[in-house]
């Protein structure tokens, strides 16, 4: 088979740090080529060079047989290279059709031809089975819908090469399935697809070949049929991590005492009549598709959002009007889902981020004591082995895994008895993931912390949880223990295959509510 792209000795550095180091490999025509590696392995840098956002320091790209300098995104598009970025780049204030044709509008003389664009946009969306009104303004759509529209837009550019950077991170299982159908269709039309993902199951489902990068170096390309997930993980991490991923679940730690009791809790239509208990020493997993109300439930329990009905008991104390302050005093702590928007202060140092919650301990009559702030942070930095060059370094400059550990440190600094973790390993690379699992295991064993873990990654929920509660459409639809915990039964409850599927509608609503904050 002919190769459409050949990378030859590509190197790129950022302020002295090598992001890509002499990378050479081929991408063949009409294949789905997966690119894997930890965060910071260089995948995005390489794709940014290919899509014209960056220019390599050394080396060249042979595109369709000729050495090609790409240089700008417009040039990349002209060459037939389209990219869907992980962080969506579209205009929320414009309509779906306007976004699809942004920069290449149909024109009637000097006037834009809205009708033509709307019709064409609807046609594109219909042909990909996307059920969205093209006249709807983009901010009324869910993240998943936006992602799919972005992909549809890239496809419509008649690209020869389509780069998809973590396209499924915000998609539900169904939407992912749909996306994959479209990818296969494009492949039949001889489009080459470069697929970046952290989810190995997806990679094995869709990719023909897999290339591995580690710390900026190319480690090899393998036919997906010839390697196992374990092989790939070993290559990505440079060590065998599967052994460390051994199940954290252990019922021996659980005592029959209830530390948290939620009864008939509701919050508008997002959380409906939810009741459950958390036992001392237990790790309780929560699974649900996007929009099922998991995060909304946790926010209500923790007190950052108001409940509309029901009761919450923490250690035999009824919590009437809960606020995050009160919850923390009561022994609760919560790791927020989106560390960038809800958790960390990227402008502030590691020390400050960890200590911020304790104004009493880090200040004396309102006067800050930086030394005690540092002392408090240092304890966690060594305990959770947070890697930073300087404790005064802004948190925004750390890697995703270390950022997450800083966020976790803050949660732990209140010495909670109950810890709610919402997506504890999102945007974290494989190595840091294993570390976080190990930390959770230790917290339960040594500090006897009871935990609720919310995750959209099935293997994570299965591996961590003693018991799993599955949510659908704001309600708890299933409870699984011990041997019952497996992918199939969890998904059955998550899709609520016995009941009616009103999931789409809910995800829509919850996104709207989220948009207000």
């Amino acid at each position: 088979m002919a190769s459409i792209i050949r990378f030859e000795h590509i190197s790129k550095s950022f302020s002295g740090v090598r992001a890509l180091d002499d990378v050479s490999f081929d991408i063949e025509t009409a294949q789905v080529h997966a690119l894997v590696g930890e965060n910071g392995a260089g995948k995005s840098t390489l794709m940014n060079i290919l899509s014209g956002l960056l220019t390599q320091d050394a080396g060249s790209i042979i595109y369709k047989g000729a050495e090609t300098k790409i240089g700008t995104p417009a040039a990349a598009r002209k060459h037939g290279i389209a990219t869907v970025f992980q962080e969506l780049k579209n205009c929320d204030n414009l309509t779906v059709a306007e976004n699809i044709f942004l920069g290449r509008e149909y024109k009637n003389g000097i006037r834009p031809d809205w009708r033509g664009m709307n019709e064409k946009a609807q046609e594109i969306l219909d042909s990909y089975g996307i059920d969205v009104d093209v006249r709807a303004s983009l901010h009324s759509l869910s993240v998943a819908q936006k992602q799919i529209i972005e992909i549809a837009k890239a496809i419509d550019l008649n690209a020869d090469v389509l780069i998809l950077d973590e396209p499924t991170s915000a998609l539900t299982v169904n939407e992912t399935k749909h996306l994959f159908e479209n990818i296969r269709r494009l492949k039949e039309q001889s489009v080459t697809i470069i697929f970046i993902s952290h989810r190995l199951d997806e990679i094995f489902e869709i990719a023909d070949v897999i290339s591995v990068l580690r710390s900026g170096q190319y480690l090899g390309t393998h036919k997906a049929a010839d390697v196992s997930a374990n092989d790939i993980i070993r290559m990505i991490a440079g060590k065998d991590l599967m052994t460390q991923y051994a199940s954290v679940a252990d019922r021996d730690f659980i005592s029959p005492k209830k530390v948290l009791e939620v009864s008939s809790l509701s919050r508008t239509s997002l959380v409906r009549d939810v009741s459950f208990s958390l036992f001392e020493g237990e790790i309780l997993g929560f699974y649900g598709l996007q929009g099922s109300g998991r995060t909304e439930l946790m926010e209500t329990i923790f007190g950052t959002q108001k409940k509309t009905a029901g009761s919450i008991r923490v250690f035999d104390h009824d919590i009437q009007k809960s606020t995050s302050r009160k919850s923390i005093r009561g022994g609760l702590s919560m790791l927020m889902e989106e560390r960038k928007t809800n958790g960390l202060f990227f402008n502030m140092s590691v020390n400050e981020n960890i200590a911020i919650i304790h104004e009493g301990k880090i200040s004396w009559h309102g006067v800050l004591n930086k030394r005690s702030m540092k002392r408090m942070a240092s304890a966690y930095i060594s305990q959770l082995s947070i890697r930073c060059s300087d404790q005064r370094q802004p948190v925004g400059k750390l890697s995703g895994g270390n950022q997450q550990k800083v966020a976790l440190s803050r949660c732990l600094s209140t010495e909670p008895s109950i810890l709610i973790l919402d997506e504890p390993t999102r945007g974290v690379d494989v190595g840091a993931k294993a570390e976080i699992y190990e930390i959770l295991r230790r917290l339960r064993k040594e500090n006897h912390i009871s935990m609720i873990v919310v995750s959209s990654e099935l293997p994570e929920v299965i591996m961590l949880s003693d018991r799993v509660l599955v949510m659908h459409n704001g309600c708890i639809t299933g409870e699984l223990q011990g041997d019952e915990i497996n992918e199939k039964s969890i998904l059955q409850y998550a899709f609520n295959e016995t009941g009616s599927n009103t999931h789409e509608e809910v995800s829509y609503e919850s996104d709207k509510e989220r948009a207000r904050y």
Binding site: S15, L344, I357, V367
Partner: protein
């Protein structure tokens, strides 16, 4: 170990955020030293300091408001209105000087509070709230005086004993140094302490950096923002009153357009308009830079029109340097 640490600290001085403006200030300073004879004299330097004192007092407050991620356009009007009202209290109001001063500062604080409440609880963008307040306060000052001048002197003021010390605040000297400069330095010290050494300053940085995360850790975001506005309002009031003590008379238009100079100095000092970043040291350097520029341009005989152009160019240049250096990092 101790040594290595010290080395690191030293290195950080040159890497400081303020380094860019500081270098610009040094270059300007040198330039005026070389091109004019009268620039580098104790008298002139003290002059510059005195001239920037009032601007500087407000810049300290503005830095805090910008750090919380908000904005205030009303300081010029607050400055004018408080000075005017304090003058009226002392003269036709017949109040003792100390009470007039306190009331004036309290009114400034009150305007800040109203700004803060409207921004936080009524959820109106600070740009709009303070643009409105700019007009309201200005109009109020004009209505109260009917467009006339309020003059404070030992004939108009009832509190004859107090008026002496009042004028000392504005025009007095300790040794060779104007009292106003001491007040400026005091405000810098208090501002530095508040923003960089207390929990409220720490929270200001947090709120400006990520308001929703601040909420999640239990910080009262609204209260922190209101505090910023109130401090700025009170400082604008203080500056307005010192201005009255210096000029001995004010009119309805006093301080018009001053908000822009305050914002300019703050931004030149490296404070981010998007919140979360900003230091008192930067504010002071920003203020000095505008002062040196204005003074030096007069000395080399440039017209006031040219000065305006230069200040404008410096604002853009300072922010451009800030953006570029940030990109490089």
């Amino acid at each position: 170990m101790e040594n290595a640490l010290a080395l690191k600290e030293k290195k950080n001085v040159f890497r400081m955020k303020e380094a860019g403006v500081l270098i610009a200030l040094a270059i300007l300073f040198l330039f005026f030293c070389l091109t004019t004879d009268s620039f580098l004299t104790a008298q002139n330097l003290l002059n510059i300091l005195r001239q920037v004192s009032l601007l500087g007092i407000m810049t300290v407050g503005m830095t805090m408001v910008l750090v919380t991620g908000e904005f205030d356009l009303s300081v010029g009007s607050t400055f004018g209105m408080t000075g005017m009202l304090a003058g009226i209290f002392m003269t036709s109001g017949g109040m003792p000087v100390w009470l007039s001063i306190l009331l004036g500062i309290a009114i400034g604080l009150g305007i800040g509070l109203v700004n803060g409440l409207l921004v936080t609880y009524a959820k109106i963008p600070s740009f709009i709230v303070t643009l409105g307040m700019l007009n309201v306060a200005r109009g109020f000052a004009l209505v109260v005086t009917g467009g006339l001048v309020v003059a404070v002197n030992d004939k108009t003021a009832r509190d004859v004993a107090g008026i002496e010390s009042f004028f000392f605040i504005g025009g007095g000297k300790v040794g060779e140094i104007p009292v106003m400069i001491f007040l400026f330095i005091a405000v810098i010290a208090v501002g530095f302490f508040l923003l960089h050494r207390t929990i409220i300053g720490f929270w200001m940085k947090a709120v400006g950096g990520n308001a929703s995360a601040a909420k999640a850790v239990g910080i009262n975001v609204n209260l922190v923002k209101i505090t910023g506005f109130a401090i700025l309002g009170a400082l604008a009031g203080l500056a307005g009153i010192i201005n009255l003590a210096f000029l001995t008379n004010v009119q309805g238009t006093t301080g018009q357009g001053m908000e822009l100079n305050v914002i300019a100095a703050t931004v030149i000092g490296g404070t981010s308009v998007s919140g979360g970043e900003g230091t008192i040291l930067g504010a002071v350097i920003g203020v000095l830079l505008t002062g040196v520029l204005n003074n030096g341009l007069i000395l080399i005989g440039a017209s006031s029109f040219i000065q305006t152009i230069c200040i404008g160019a410096v604002i853009i240049g300072a922010v451009a340097i800030d953006v570029w250096t940030r990109k490089k990092q």
